[in-house]
Symmetry: C2
Subunit: 206 residues, 2 copies
Amino acid sequence: MRRAKAVSLADGESLFQQGDTATRFYLVVKGHIKLFRLAPDGNEKIIELVDAGHTFAEALMFLEQPRFPVGAVALGETELISIDAADFSAILRDSVDLCMALLGDMSFRLRSLIREIDDLSLHSATCRVAAFILSRAPEHCDDFELDIPKHVIASRISVKPETFSRIIKSLKSKNILEIRGSKVRLLDREALEDAADVCGLPVEAT
Amino acid sequence: MRRAKAVSLADGESLFQQGDTATRFYLVVKGHIKLFRLAPDGNEKIIELVDAGHTFAEALMFLEQPRFPVGAVALGETELISIDAADFSAILRDSVDLCMALLGDMSFRLRSLIREIDDLSLHSATCRVAAFILSRAPEHCDDFELDIPKHVIASRISVKPETFSRIIKSLKSKNILEIRGSKVRLLDREALEDAADVCGLPVEAT
DNA sequence: TATATCAATTGACATGAGTCAAAGCGCTTT
DNA sequence: AAAGCGCTTTGACTCATGTCAATTGATATA
């Protein structure tokens, strides 16, 4: 692991851009990284928000001509460890177990992306908002914080900030939840779950 | 490879359903397999059309509790080889090269799915239709056939058949292409490419 | 040749979500 | 306390796509 390096980024600082050649991958130690795609008209869609403890871009090292399919910028102060792909690849060749672990990780991502495509093409914006909030809510606690700005959430779930705001408003008016700033309180978790899967795949199929 | 089995399916026959436990994966020998997700309201979104020569569902064997995240049915008469996941997993443990190959394959899929998400959230239906047609067109030939029914194409690109039909009509009216039945003729490839990426990622970034 | 069936097309209409523009609110800076 | 700045909210309006329903076309079955 000689060639692993620590990297620090300020809020909004870019790590790499879509199309850059990929020779390293990363582990988030602190903060968040947002991975996004840009449309020529300037619109951006967040593909993934990577939290501390997770790696990203390691899948690219297996492509012949590895280029980042997304751009990456820091959300808040963030710290990373950057790992040389060639180094890691050499290590991989010595460990079938590590290979299998990676394979497992990639399977998982594959499945997440399939779910997202499902979400985008089969569910309404309201469903996505509800599902997102649920995904951020702790198991047994109805009070929690959104640790990312709302316009970021909006882009993550492919909705405009204005629309996001209106959907939240309507959920409030139905007494399903309360939101003040970044503080969320779930008033009726069940109703929120309903809203989330008025199309949400039957549980067994996730 | 003892436990590999041949499977034949008639048109429309189901291979497995979303949520089924996955213990095998498949190689298409002849015909096509459509992988899809269903919404409770009956809507269906085709995640992938697998043509002869390609495998699918092999990524699942690395998950702890492997269930198919999609359903699979045959399009046209199709033949497959079904491979036992446990068998294959054993073989994998003996070959780092095979592991690497699989890893490469999965990276590729990951990237395709990211592109699709990009497509769904950043591009219009017209872009998707244009891109799809281009993706089916041979390199240096402007006459070719769509070997799948139009409503299947429509679902693949997340568009209703009616909308698909209208977009085609408008492309015809602009003298960009001709379509009669399943026969397509490109009249103005460049214009079609334009239509496809009036948002299509800059070439280098794919 | 008739007929049932399924795919594709067309028209009229409904609607969810985007756009644009203006406030409002919560920060930090001065 | 005032001013400035970005994020969020709200309102009015537009537009792309979906929905519903009817028609046409094409292929298979009797």
